[in-house]
Amino acid sequence: MSLPHSSSPPAPAELLTLLPEVVAEVAEHAFFAWAAPCEEREFADLVAASEASRSVPAPAAWLRARVGFRGVVKGSLEVRLPVALARELGIALTGGSPADGLTDQELGDVAGELANMLCGVLLTRVDRRQAFELQPPQVARVADVRDGAARSEHDQFFCLNDRPVAVRFGAWEP
């Protein structure tokens, strides 16, 4: 696949094309989970269901993990997922039991590792010849899946274990 050199702006079209299969692969191999793309309307329904499933209101029930990447293309990838999903994925990742609690640090690790793996597999698929650099994941708890962010044409929506996950590409920030 031919892509611009790293000094060029991100090429989200190629990344967007590869993203669904990469999300599915990472979900299955790392987290023993199932994932598929979904439309924005279905995503909104999953968000509503996720909000409704919480027994007590949580002020920051979402995790946002962002990883900058620089290689054959450069930019950033941001993943947003419910904290409850991060907990499920963390238990699957480590083989724990649902009764096991995860610390905030561990939940952040799960979100960060998800973003990290998505970036790494995507960039390897784009051009297997060239190495790349990934920034350490920046993870934050946020109140809402949007968290003030406007709808972007690069937003991609997924259903992962019947829970909503949003992925967005952005610019590289040194």
């Binding site: 597999v121 060239q130 190495a131 650099e133």
Partner: protein, 129 residues
């Protein structure tokens, strides 16, 4: 290194993510390879300090880590003969040929791409038996 049949393998897992370290430990535990102690370090510098005081048969390292990267760690190990028998395994999301070649040049004889299935860790450990 050639391990005897009754030998338990000591491992050092180097990754800045505690969850990834836990996943690698879990995969190693599922491998049915007899394990001794699985040590953990969160970056290359911490791993180097630990290696001064512990004995391990295999080292699994991530690449992108704060303080000291996995590549810097491998380069540091490569500069000293005392680590020549240590099995070095890179576990990374970067599966590029360029990164793999870099690993080979630093005597990392195995390369596991994330995400991986537990069998990948078993296959690596099996080479020590």
């Amino acid at each position: 290194m050639s391990a005897g049949s009754d030998k338990r393998l000591n491992l050092l897992v180097v990754d800045d993510s505690a969850m990834m370290r836990a996943m690698i430990k879990r995969a190693a535990g599922l491998s049915k390879v007899p394990l001794g102690t699985v040590y953990e370090a969160s970056n290359g510098a911490e791993a180097l300090r630990m290696l001064e005081t512990i004995s391990v048969d295999a080292l699994f390292t991530d690449i992108n880590m704060p303080v000291m990267t996995g590549i810097e760690l491998l380069a540091a190990l490569d500069r000293q003969d005392r680590w020549k028998d240590l099995l070095r395994v890179i576990i990374s999301t970067d599966g590029s040929n360029a990164r793999r070649e870099q690993g080979v040049q630093l005597n990392a004889c195995q390369y596991v791409e994330k995400p991986f299935k537990p069998e990948a860790i078993r296959d690596v450990l099996a080479t020590l038996l």
